[in-house]
């Protein structure tokens, strides 16, 4: 970067660029497009359980209303590894980035298990798989049931690459990636069969996402890669400076790596073959990529791809319907911050926040850059976003934070999307040098969607419970209904500490619906989660749209089931499911507060036991 955006301007402008929203591109006021009901006061039975306090202070009782999470489950008892600890000293960015987490039902028992990549790569540490035993209890499995990658791991993606109905696991690494085939809940390393996916020993892969981009009935994969890490060269270079602190160098000044796109050849080989050229990604400049997410930004029935990149512009790849992409982030207004400057994108989440069937995009950024909220205003053959973080109250509140994992979901089921972000500075060194307001260990953030016509969020701070009080080096996160009570919980990776499991115990939750959307698998009796399917629910005055997504947040995989908060509505008047192959089915008067299995071609909505 050699051109100053504001080289000729005065000092005033810097403050403006850093702090103040001189935001772009919105053509309309930030209002929801559908009428909104009043806030839900519908009671919801809370689950009784024993919380293990992590501090000596007695836990606060849950409030009668509002979002409320409790920290629990000492069963997740491993300490996350990522190179040396902060106390031991992290001299490479490699050791500071941290890991994601994967929520996936590995054994098809209806409960989401947890897979944690571990970063050390010394042969003694390996990725960890916990089985969810129900009743908020997890149990570590022996050797991660075969998925015990002992590389320096960063991310994990659960996806059924061979359409057999089992979720397979991709572990992204500094070094070769590993692909584990799932057969009945145990894994076999088949990485050598997929050399393009495994990559080279010097590769540093971060996040990954899967979708059927060419509509041929199998899942293709996008793997984000960061930079070429060369330890000896970095040792020679010495430390770099950040706001007066001596810190590890990178990523700027280091060689960015090209991302990988793997096209699935399908039956009988199920080979994941590198095809960046065929996908139209070849001419795109290498970036320091962290997290891709597939989402249909223009509602044309095919998965587009958004990639959060660190320190350079983010990418938006629009799909022409055949799995061929064109990069249009700048035109669409999702490449940069509100002042037209590239930011340091970390994690990404997508959801239709305003009920117009188009997904908004939320990107977490570096400190002194607010997180981004790109409102989707597409229409008339134009993909168009407006960066509205300040307008929706996600601007100043996130300015000094460094956020990673993130989710936009309706945690209190009131019908309005809430926003979660996992926070913690990348450099432990910031605690020993001047920056004010910037500290290494940070508390997580939860912004409640405020009911009403305008999109607005309220920063709940610690009002949402203990998981939002305690500062830590938070990194990847996943929102998922781990206890199957109809409310999304959170699991968050903490560097050098045990993971944070935040159970959602909000008392005054609204009504909800959970959908598992499936499509036929490879064999006649197998069904697989239909990644890319979209469900639209309508009540008398509201419409909600959700997608089935594999790969999001930060280096993580979240709940593959679709979750709707319905507020006071006791039923969905219509439910439309658009499967990934474009077929649509419609149901009416779907009663709330249940988990339903939707199978393509079947009119029957199968109720799934939640316990």
């Amino acid at each position: 970067m050699t051109t100053s955006l504001r080289r000729s301007s005065g000092g005033l402008l810097l403050v403006g660029i850093h702090l103040l929203s001189v935001a772009c591109g919105s053509s309309e006021p930030t209002t929801r497009r559908a009428a909104a009901p009043l806030v839900s006061t519908t009671p919801h039975a809370s689950v009784s359980f024993e919380v293990t306090p992590t501090t000596l202070r007695a836990p606060r009782p849950p409030p009668e209303a509002g979002l409320w999470f409790v920290e629990g489950s000492t069963e997740l008892n491993h300490v996350n590894l990522s190179g040396p600890t902060a106390e031991q000293g992290k001299s490479y960015l490699l050791d500071c980035i941290g890991q994601g987490v994967c929520a996936a039902d590995i054994d098809n028992d209806g409960q989401l298990d947890l897979y944690f990549p571990q970063g050390r790569g010394d042969g003694d540490s390996q990725n960890i798989l916990y089985r969810n035993l129900g009743d908020r209890v997890f149990e570590a499995t022996e050797n991660a049931r075969g998925a015990n990658d002992d590389s320096y791991s960063f991310g994990a993606l659960a996806f059924d690459f061979d359409n057999d109905g089992d979720l397979d696991l991709l572990s992204t690494n500094f070094g070769k990636n590993r692909l584990y085939r799932n057969k009945g809940g145990t894994f076999t390393d088949i990485s050598t069969d997929h050399p393009d996916l495994a990559g080279k020993p010097e590769d540093w892969s971060t996040g990954a996402a899967a979708a059927d981009v060419d509509k041929d009935g199998d899942l293709d994969v996008y793997i984000a890669n960061y930079y070429l890490h060369d330890g000896p060269a970095l040792d020679q270079k010495g430390a770099c400076r950040f706001m007066g602190c001596s810190v590890p160098c990178g990523p700027r000044g280091l060689k960015a790596q090209a991302d990988s796109f793997l096209r699935n050849t399908g039956a009988p080989d199920w080979a994941l073959v590198g095809d960046a050229d065929g996908a139209g990604l070849k001419g795109v400049r290498n970036a320091y990529a962290f997290q891709p997410v597939f989402t249909d930004v223009d509602n044309d029935g095919d998965p587009d791809l958004y990639v959060a990149n660190d320190s350079v512009q983010n990418y938006l790849f629009l799909n022409d319907g055949n799995g061929h992409f064109s990069e249009e982030a700048v035109l669409a207004g999702v490449g940069h911050g509100d002042a037209g400057n590239p930011e340091a994108g970390m994690g990404v989440s997508v959801a239709d926040v305003d009920g117009d069937r188009l997904p908004e995009i939320h990107v977490t950024n570096f400190s002194t850059q607010s997180n981004s909220f790109y409102r989707n205003l597409s229409g008339d053959d134009l993909v168009w976003f407006s960066e509205d973080a300040h307008q929706v109250n996600l601007g100043y509140a996130t300015f000094f934070l460094l956020s990673w994992g993130c989710t936009m979901a309706d945690f209190d089921c009131d019908g309005y999307i809430d926003v979660f972000s996992a926070n913690g500075h990348v450099f432990p060194q910031v605690d020993d040098c001047p920056p004010e307001h910037i500290i290494y260990k940070q508390a997580n953030s939860l912004f409640a969607g405020i009911p009403g016509d305008e999109i607005r969020f309220e920063d709940l701070g610690s009002k949402a419970g203990q998981p939002f009080e305690k500062p830590a080096g938070h990194r990847g996160s996943a929102a998922a209904d781990f206890d199957n009570d109809g409310a999304l919980d959170l699991v968050v990776v903490r560097l050098d500490e045990k993971p944070l499991m935040a159970w959602n115990d909000s008392r005054s939750r609204g009504h909800w619906l959970m959908l598992t959307i499936e499509t036929p698998g490879a064999s006649t009796d197998s069904w697989r989660t239909d990644i890319g399917a979209r469900a639209i629910i309508a009540t008398a005055d509201r419409t909600w749209t959700r997608e089935v997504i594999a790969g999001s947040s930060f280096l993580s995989t979240e709940d593959p089931r679709i979750h709707f908060g319905l507020g006071p509505a006791e039923k969905a008047e219509t439910l439309i499911v658009r499967f990934s192959n474009g077929n649509e089915q419609r149901w009416e008067n779907v009663v709330a507060n249940s988990h339903l299995r939707v199978r393509q071609g079947s009119d029957h909505l199968q109720k799934v036991s939640m316990r």
Partner: protein
């Protein structure tokens, strides 16, 4: 011979000029170099017109005021004195330097227009011409004028310090070192003041390069703080420290300087304006809005306060109020590109693309190197149906920003 300590000092200076930073961090290529903001006349001795015969006294007094950082008083006196002695080129040069110190480059440019036929043997005038050329990015012209200024029989410290900067900018490091050597020979006589000037020069230079990397800001702050430590009563240096603190979001350290630099004096709105700036970096947007409104109520022509208030209003979606607030400023000659830019954004956000286009084009004309204007203009052109031109500008933006 250059002594070892001086060589070390030169090395430190040159190193600081050359250092590039690759540290991880927020890329903000939009960081401008530090420019002191135009301030209102500081309350104190009132400016009064002088007869031409008093011009020499005025120059001496203005120099003294300038040295102690009381720029607005110096400017007021010099302007008044020039009313009685418009041909006095020394007063003109001195006024130009004060304007540059105060960041009032536009006024300095107007002043330059009066110097076309001026001789080249007036030290202070040449210094002014050199500094202005340097700030305009015309380093070759700057060096020519500064070299003339450096021929002064008195010790031309300021000319030489600026010459070091200019040579370093041209990457003529041997010449820069030679000039620095000359400065070194006066070190004993000048003592701490030279050290302060050297540190200040290093800080200034880093700020000029900060446009490329926000990571340079703390280093510039270190230099300014070092300079202030050597010359603690210099309010001009204190102001540089303060401005760099604000740019670094160091509100806790910036707030205490408010009392020193901007005392609460009846009739002055500077304190309110600066309080607003500090509150912005502290994240207290309501407090900032209140302070900027207060400054504007007392001094409705303060464009800087209007710009800052407009940013806050725009963040809150109050586009109508932004238009109402800034339109009078946009109609004035020499309007700041920020005014045009913010109006463009306000119109864009309210869906008035034609108006937005007009203002973005005006902003671009005023600040052609400001890439974010290109970004917004490109996007608004697409919304306005001028897709081809819009795409072209966005492509240009992408190339320029990498």
């Amino acid at each position: 011979m250059t002594s070892a300590p001086m060589l070390q000092a030169i090395n430190v200076l040159l190193l600081s000029l050359l250092t590039t930073f690759t540290a991880y961090g927020p890329t903000n290529p939009s960081t401008p170099h530090l420019k002191l903001m135009a301030a209102e006349p500081r309350p104190g001795k009132p400016a009064h017109p002088l007869s031409p015969c008093k011009a020499g006294d005025t120059a001496a007094e203005a120099r003294s005021l300038r040295k102690s950082g009381r720029l607005e008083e110096a400017i007021g006196q010099l302007k008044a004195a020039r009313g009685g002695a418009p041909q006095d080129l020394e007063l003109l040069g001195l006024l130009g330097l004060c304007l540059l110190d105060a960041g009032r480059q536009n006024e300095a440019l107007v002043l330059l227009g009066e110097t076309h036929d001026a001789p080249r043997d007036i030290h202070v005038l040449e210094l002014f011409r050199g500094r202005l050329a340097f700030e305009q990015g015309d380093t070759a012209t700057a060096i020519a004028h500064l070299e003339t200024a450096a021929e002064s029989p008195k010790r031309p410290v300021e000319a030489l310090v600026n010459l070091v900067r200019a040579h370093a900018q041209e990457e003529s490091f041997v010449r820069a070192a030679t000039v620095a050597e000359q400065l070194e020979s006066w070190q004993e006589a000048l003592g701490k003041r030279l050290g302060a000037q050297m540190a200040e020069a290093a800080g200034d230079r880093i700020m000029q390069r900060a446009g490329r990397n926000v990571e340079a800001l703390p280093r510039a702050l270190e230099k300014f703080e070092a300079a202030l430590a050597k010359d603690p009563t210099n309010d001009l240096l204190a102001r540089k420290v303060y401005d760099t603190l604000v740019l670094n979001h160091r509100s806790t350290s910036a707030f205490p300087l408010l009392d020193r630099l901007f005392p609460e004096v009846e009739g002055s709105t500077e304190r309110d304006f600066q309080t607003g700036r500090c509150r912005v970096i502290a994240g207290d947007m309501k407090g900032a809005e209140e302070a900027f409104r207060k400054a504007l109520a007392a001094s409705p022509n303060r464009s800087d306060a209007a710009i800052e208030l407009a940013r806050i209003l725009l963040s809150g979606g109050h586009t109508d109020e932004v238009v109402q607030l800034l339109s009078p400023f946009a109609q004035r000659g020499g309007s700041h590109s920020d005014v045009q830019m913010l109006l463009g954004l306000a119109y864009e956000r309210s869906g008035h693309y034609a108006e937005a286009e007009t203002f973005f084009r005006r902003a671009r004309k005023l600040s052609p190197q400001q890439m974010d204007i290109l970004y917004h203009l490109g996007r608004v052109l697409i919304r306005a149906g001028k897709a081809e031109e819009g795409r072209k500008l966005l492509s240009e933006f992408q190339k320029a920003t990498g």
